[in-house]
Amino acid sequence: MLKRVLIANRGEIACRVIRTLRAMGIGSVAVYHLEDRGAPHLDLADERVLLHGHVPTAAYLDQDQIIAACKATGADGLHPGYGFLSENAGFAARTAKEGIAFIGPDADVIKLMGDKILSRNYARKLGIPIAPSATQTGTLEHFIDQAAAIGFPLLIKASAGGGGKGMKIVRAAKDLEENIRMAAGEAQRYFADGRVYAEKLLEQPRHIEVQVLGDGKGNVIHLFERECSIQRRYQKVVEESPAPNLDWKLRDQICAAAVKLASAAKYKNAGTVEFILSADGTFYFLEMNTRLQVEHPVTEMVTGVDLVAEQIKIASGLGLSFAQQDIVQKGSAIEVRVCAERPERDFQPAVGRVGLLRVPVGGKLRFDAGIREGQVVTPAFDSMLAKLICCGDTRADAVAGLSAALRELVILGVPTNVDFLARIARNGVFKSGKLHTGFIGEQSADLAPPALAPSEEAAAVLTALFDDADFRRAAFDVPEPYASIGAWRN
């Protein structure tokens, strides 16, 4: 078993990983940029190492400093979390070479799955369905012809991309060339790789993904599916398990496809195979994420498996603790991502200070947070502050619990999407479980902040005014008899 693990990450995922390390009796090392001083993961960890970086994110991407921190603290394992270096094959290889266990798959698998074109070809060879697509191999003209042949609507994506960057929807042939150029330009800017590919766009598709664990020797189990269809700006907002209204046979087919892919790749550690599911029940392989997902808690809540613990055991060479039949999906769990943003301004990221934080507690609730009261939210990092997860015996229970918890959750001092998430939880279509990736756009009217009734407006304005010392003085500091006489003039 590993003795000491360095977490090459920050925020909620660093806290999450450290908690499991604690529970397993394994030492933890946090790294941080000065911008993150006072962040909660620093207090949780046994040791902490300051990273330098002109740009804060660059510090968490600085392989030399992180390897040096492992050496300095005697860490024999490294957990990359998600984002940052988690899917960097070169870093995984380098870590291994330095004798530090990289808690994730081997470098070659990361490399394979990290390339959308390569991974799709790999899946196709295994007989896993992939959406009709075209890859740019020859001239632009040739690519345009191939793409048009798939039929519209089309999605243009960056080969090296993610997070919606470089992604374009094309509905007519006349717009194709321009969009390909734009997508390629963005891909070049964001990923230093201008390659793009075209894919058939499914209308009202669902995003279904499967959590897998592999031992690196071809043994792979799945921990069922997650539905992550509710997205904004191509980023997930609400995730749940199991996927609502999903036929169990279809669910088994999807899970089997995921296990097939991971087994073939001799996948080691935790990974997620993402699929897109069309309304008619056809599904296509999208990509595989070779790391722990943000939304892993919903799987943990319905299966009772601590995925981080399993990751560490696998990285320690202990193999899988479970056989497939041991994994049972029980009840329903939903996660919402709490972000510092302004939903009414197209989800524009916001900054501020978490001045007041009141977290609901309950046996069916989990609040995975990388923030604490008083912490400053800067534009240096991702806007996600925390994840609120609620489970229940049924999906309706989980939704009701989530609604109540969101009402209780207080994060003041920075604009957040908490109320927006609450409106999703109250939305009729959401409650019915008829989800697809266009949900937020389609339900935008219902999800918009409702107009305030005059009494609500007065209540809010007065609450603010009573918090204001100037107003309190004006209201209460006027002596008698002046207060009694009021606005009298002689």
Binding site: G352, R353, G355, L356, R358, L406, R407, E408, V410, I411, L412, G413, V414, P415, T416, V418, D419, A422, P449, L452, P454, S455, E456, E457, A458, A459, A460, V461, L462, T463, A464, L465, F466, D467, D468, D470, F471, R473, A474, A475, F476, V478, A483, S484, G486, A487
Partner: protein, 175 residues
């Protein structure tokens, strides 16, 4: 506090204390509300009776705006304060003057440049000490009085600022 404009979730409403006895009466928009029993159950909570109904909310004051959470809804409230630009903090100064005699060793702006509060305008050397002269407020450089390598006396105007574009006296006042 004199009558003021309060912005709630981007919407502006006029607020004014109308009376204090027998109960506090506050005009918000067009309606007058009667408030009694104002309490602070905890440092972050405010409770009061508004027109006969109890209101209890969370509150946090950020540097510019107040965050209020009532009945599961968060509102961002901004209380306008005339004079809050901080005349007392020298933030309304037009002429930036030299605190010591010296020489301009670097000029970082030109006439017509928009400048922001805290932006370095020039570097001056006085008594072998290099000092940055910074903008005391947002504005536009109206005139540069002390050119590069020129010397100046204590109290001499170095740079004059005009109001920032789109800003004028009436917009600043009674905000």
């Amino acid at each position: 506090m004199p009558p003021t404009k309060t912005t709630i979730n981007g919407r502006s409403v006029d607020t004014e204390i109308i009376a204090r006895r027998p109960a506090l009466a506050v005009k918000i928009g067009e309606a007058v509300h009667v408030v009694t029993d104002v309490r602070r159950p905890s440092p972050s909570e405010i409770e009061f009776t508004l027109d006969g109904s109890v209101v209890r909310g969370w509150c946090f004051a950020g540097p510019d705006e107040l965050y209020v959470r009532i009945a599961g809804n968060t509102h961002i409230v901004n209380i306008a304060r005339p004079g809050a630009s901080g005349a007392g903090n020298a933030q309304t100064v037009n002429d930036i003057r030299a605190e010591m005699p010296g020489t301009v060793v670097a000029l970082h702006i030109a006439e017509g440049d928009p400048v922001a509060l805290g932006q370095k305008l020039m570097t001056v050397e006085s008594m072998k000490l290099q000092i940055g002269v910074v903008a005391p407020r947002d504005g536009v450089v109206a005139k540069v009085h002390a050119q590069l390598n020129s010397t100046f006396d204590r109290g001499a105007a170095l740079v004059s600022l005009a109001p920032a574009v789109g800003e004028n006296a009436s917009a600043k006042g009674n905000g």
